[in-house]
């Protein structure tokens, strides 16, 4: 007990005000799950699930998406536990539950581990163990490979670590089919290539934060000019990769039209950032557009599958 002992009734009986009991609410724990990140993860997981051949029972599909969401949230909680020291010195993250003192690090660790075990176990028992294995790999990759290893050791942290965020379509596909195929791997590759441009746009805006926290993000280690060039490079690769589903016979004309329009917008913002050194507001516009890009691209993919649009070329 950390608090003072007092004689509450004046007769020598002891009690304490405010014992060492957590003040964390359910909302604080929910915040550990990084709900905004979770929503995009669920959406891309849904794309993998919908694109898979065959019809999945809707309850099983719901269970799969719930487990993907909880698993992603669990890895977020583990990341917040491990990165609490970094979060405390960064403006963007200083108000997160651990640095603000609302949740104790040990509580976040326990919460993350329990949810990881439950999400993987439930997916395995109720859906299949291939998807559960992929979900376990995703959590491990984000919490251990990215958070504990890459983030503090290399400027390529977000490039390699982006694989964790790219995995949900593969988990969704595996939940529906019990196996993997080229189509979900193309979706994984697309998100993998999209992540650097998306994240470095934010890192440009927050480079001072990362420098203070000693995190070797690209703008800190290689400078902003090199980061802007790399953003354009990865944007070109992402836009090129967005046409691969159509070329391989997984998508039709509407998807190609949406991919072309969105790709033009993505490239426009990336080049604008390249040509406007120091304009961090423009970098944040690119960050915002990159989220819209991925969301609409996968919406087009899901909509085409739902409406049974014929692929551009025969698979």
């Amino acid at each position: 007990m950390s608090d003072a002992t007092i004689d509450i009734d004046g007769k020598g009986a002891e009690t304490r005000l405010g014992p060492d009991v957590s003040v964390a609410t359910a909302g604080d724990f929910f915040e550990l799950l990084k709900p905004r990140v979770m929503s995009l993860v669920v959406f891309t997981g849904l794309a993998g699930l919908v694109a898979a051949p065959g019809v999945m029972n809707p309850i099983a599909a719901f269970v799969a998406l719930l487990c993907i969401a909880v698993g992603a949230g669990a890895s977020g909680a583990l990341n917040m536990w491990y990165d609490a020291d970094i979060d405390a010195v960064m403006t963007r993250t200083a108000r997160r539950p651990i640095p603000s003192g609302r949740v104790k690090p040990q509580e976040a660790l326990t919460f993350g581990l329990v949810l990881s075990a439950f999400s993987v176990g439930t997916l395995g028992v109720l859906v299949n163990w291939v998807s559960a294995g992929l979900l376990a790999f995703t959590i491990f990759f984000y919490a251990v490979v990215y958070s504990m290893w890459l983030k503090r050791s290399t400027s390529q942290n977000i490039v390699i670590g982006g694989l964790a965020g790219a995995m949900p379509p593969a988990v969704g596909w595996a939940a529906a089919t019990g196996s993997l195929d080229v189509a979900p791997l193309v979706m994984v590759a697309l998100i993998f290539l999209w992540t650097p441009a998306h994240f470095w746009a934010l890192a440009l805006y927050r480079s001072g934060d990362y420098a203070r926290a000693n995190v070797p993000m690209l703008p800190v280690t290689a400078g902003e000019a090199e980061t802007r060039r790399q953003i354009v490079l990865y944007t070109v690769l992402t836009v090129a990769a967005s046409f691969v589903p159509a070329a391989l016979g997984f998508a039709g004309v509407p998807y190609v039209a949406v991919a072309a329009l969105l790709g033009a917008g993505f490239l426009y913002y990336a080049v604008a950032v390249l040509r406007s050194p120091g304009d961090h507001k423009l970098a944040m516009k690119l960050f915002g557009f990159s989220i819209l890009y991925l969301f609409l691209l996968f919406t087009a993919f899901i909509a085409e599958t739902a409406f049974g649009v014929a692929p551009l070329v025969s698979a």
Partner: protein, 54 residues
């Protein structure tokens, strides 16, 4: 412990009591949802065979 110094149960502060209640409700809802999920998936897996006994 002596007769003169009885240790009373440590009272929670209002904030601690509110937080604990909110956590308890969330855990109850999560456990209930988990039971419902396992029940629903059991029925899904049994499919039409669940009626064979009747």
């Amino acid at each position: 412990m002596s007769d003169q110094h009885d240790i009373l149960p440590t009272p929670l502060t209002p904030a601690q009591a509110r937080a604990r209640r909110s956590r308890n409700v969330a855990i109850a809802l999560a456990l209930g949802a988990l039971v419902a999920l396992f029940f629903a998936m059991t029925i899904v897996r049994l499919g039409g065979h669940v009626m064979d006994r009747f």
